[in-house]
Symmetry: C2
Subunit: 248 residues, 2 copies
Amino acid sequence: MDNNYQHNLNKGISVDCVIFGFDFEKLKVLVIQRESNEAGTMARFSLPGDLIFDDETLDQAASRVLKELTGLENIFLEQLQAFSSLNRLSKPADKEWLRQMREQPEERVITVAYYALVNLNGFNPMAANFAKAVSWKPVDDINSMAFDHFEILQKAHQQLHSKLKIQPIGFNLLPEKFTLSQLHKLYEVIAGKELDKRNFRRKMIKLEIVEKLNEKQKGVPHKPSSFYQFNLENYQKLAETGFDNFGF
Amino acid sequence: MDNNYQHNLNKGISVDCVIFGFDFEKLKVLVIQRESNEAGTMARFSLPGDLIFDDETLDQAASRVLKELTGLENIFLEQLQAFSSLNRLSKPADKEWLRQMREQPEERVITVAYYALVNLNGFNPMAANFAKAVSWKPVDDINSMAFDHFEILQKAHQQLHSKLKIQPIGFNLLPEKFTLSQLHKLYEVIAGKELDKRNFRRKMIKLEIVEKLNEKQKGVPHKPSSFYQFNLENYQKLAETGFDNFGF
DNA sequence: GCAAAAGTGTTAACTGTACACCCATGA
DNA sequence: TCATGGGTGTACAGTTAACACTTTTGC
């Protein structure tokens, strides 16, 4: 990717991004689809990533990959961890694929994984980058990926889950205005279990990290829901007093 | 360090280890002291670390550093995160120091930090490695280090704190047999606040992750304390049912 | 008027927290 | 006998968890 800057690339280190999105139904992840020239082989996906430049930090490299692919900037992006297994490129098809993109595909590469949270509603990654076969896949539907990317995805998913319990990062997956049912559904999907509707709402409202707006859903064939927004200020006050557990 | 294997070193990636120990009083960290040839300059310390070999994983490299320095194997060792700031080597004295140890000290190096938990009682790192000026320093007494090591230390300290709340990793800092007071003190030191003695003991005992032994302290000028040991099996049962918060 | 999702209260069980005194030992 | 840290119980407040019906809208 980005052959224009090759002279500058650090050949030994890459970043890979696990970009999560939520469509009010399922947790999804942005994947790049390999054109399958091996008939009969299961379609294979990889995470977006790139080698880093010598004069950028890992954070900058991850932001760059994210922007190139989605056009998005200033979104939630956090380092997961470095991966270094010696057989990252052990699958033959992976080597072939890499050969098309990099100068020395056999060389050992250590990758630093990041995970990002984006609001995917009304957003199509293809609009920003139509040259690549990019798509959102439900996380739960994926059970294999190229390289060690499935391991990275699983680790990122797990990290998202643990972090959601102690910090209000889930709001990054929703639009600015959202309904409590949408928030509720998000927590259920990530926690992987049902959460009592009444208890959930009561807790969110009592913590005062969501704020009711004077605006309701329109055109829905049922009682319209109020919109809410995340109140960062209140959350920060809460965090100062040592809050670190939603109790889900 | 370890010049014998130079031909094999990956010049772009190093590991650094934050090795924590607990002496029943304070949380300590293993540091390497630079021989200060700059009079008047505050003594400077660094974390133990090394460039990685091309044919080892990051985990292996970290284990190697740990073993070379302490002689210890199979102890708690976990990746923290990768650090890549472009001015890691910006302090002139740091460059000079590195020049003595590496071929190309100016080259950009990304480091992957690990943290380890060891039982330091009756243990002297010098015994295993007398060539280096290695010592345990109280974490709270350190407010500056070489390179970006102070940032790494702070991050590791913070991680230890958060993780201790949700997983029983603190036992790695204690001997196999310990008293509840020692465990209590450990949690207070890492949490950075007083914890009610009665409530603390009640909780640990009720969770059944500690097990009372038929053995007591001897020769202490006060009522002798019972020894306890960590019960991994019970903890795992607990973890299966979704336990992830000690509530401290 | 019906289907669909929004919104709302109460109770019982459990968990957290605050707090003070007697006990066993060595010197 | 004194100094030192070990060890114990209780009551109140707050939090979690379980549970079912009414409301508002579009069709």
